[in-house]
Symmetry: C2
Subunit: 199 residues, 2 copies
Amino acid sequence: MLLEKTFVDAITYRPGAVILYPGKSDMLYRVQSGLVRVHTMDDEGNGLTLRYVKPGEFFGEEALAGVERHYFAEAVTDSTVDVINPALMNAEDNLEVTTHLVKTLDRAYDNIYRLVGKRLRARIAGELLELKDTALATQLQTGETMIYATHDELAAAVGSVRETVTKVVGELSREGVISAGYGKITLKNERALADIAAE
Amino acid sequence: MLLEKTFVDAITYRPGAVILYPGKSDMLYRVQSGLVRVHTMDDEGNGLTLRYVKPGEFFGEEALAGVERHYFAEAVTDSTVDVINPALMNAEDNLEVTTHLVKTLDRAYDNIYRLVGKRLRARIAGELLELKDTALATQLQTGETMIYATHDELAAAVGSVRETVTKVVGELSREGVISAGYGKITLKNERALADIAAE
């Protein structure tokens, strides 16, 4: 099994618990179950989500390079996290982690591209589809997917503010693409949502 | 010497030459001299700079993960590039490349943070300081640094359009922080520029 000899520990965190603060550490982390949010914060305390880390994915990668971490990692849902000692990694483990890093970089560039080129409406649609296969999503009896996310959380993920997100969520609701409740959003028409995300 | 046994070739490109197109390849690249721009393009052909690759830094990292490349790599100045076969890399080489990936990801997140949180003025100031130690910069007899960059190139790097960049460059010139000529910008007060970048 991959990374078998490298495990130091597995720790379970409650929603909202901070797993990593900015700084330095020697360990690499892998999400076993749940969902972890990697985010930064400006001087006024506004959060900006850099990425969501899903089961099987890593965070704390700066331990591999011995450099400073500039972000927070926080459990979004109940999350169990494997603590990995990079010093014990073999060549195969390294390849696994490198592959993760390359894909994460690709996602970061995609994020930059969307931030610059896309309208907020497309970014919100893309974000909802991104959250669809995470621990924040649940399948309803109707077959539709419901996502637990507040307008604040969406704003942090798309680089906007709550007020503007609320306006766009209202728009998408009126168009019947989603339906929004308190702290949750149901995807009513995923195909339309994907079209909007690609706009 | 690091990566010694992995070199396939060293190729020199003229300014503007495209080194890599979106797609797939088996080789990793390292800049030996010059400057390489990694950029993406929207449907209307507008470029967006994702990063500059300086001597000693890598690009084409998706070859390590066997995934598709979504960007272009282009020589900005005369640039010589080492072609590296990842299959021949040893553990030490891997660490070198992993360290590069971690730092590149950190820079991408920093970019996202600036795109979302900072005013265009701060982004342009930050970009000029970023270009200061690249092959686009030259030291004047006055001790000041001059950077060869058009307003179009700056716009692509900060996610804006030429007209708006021209307005901000004019502002910074009137304040005496820079002086701007055709296709080049001289840094008159780097401390002030750093303050503006941190705004």
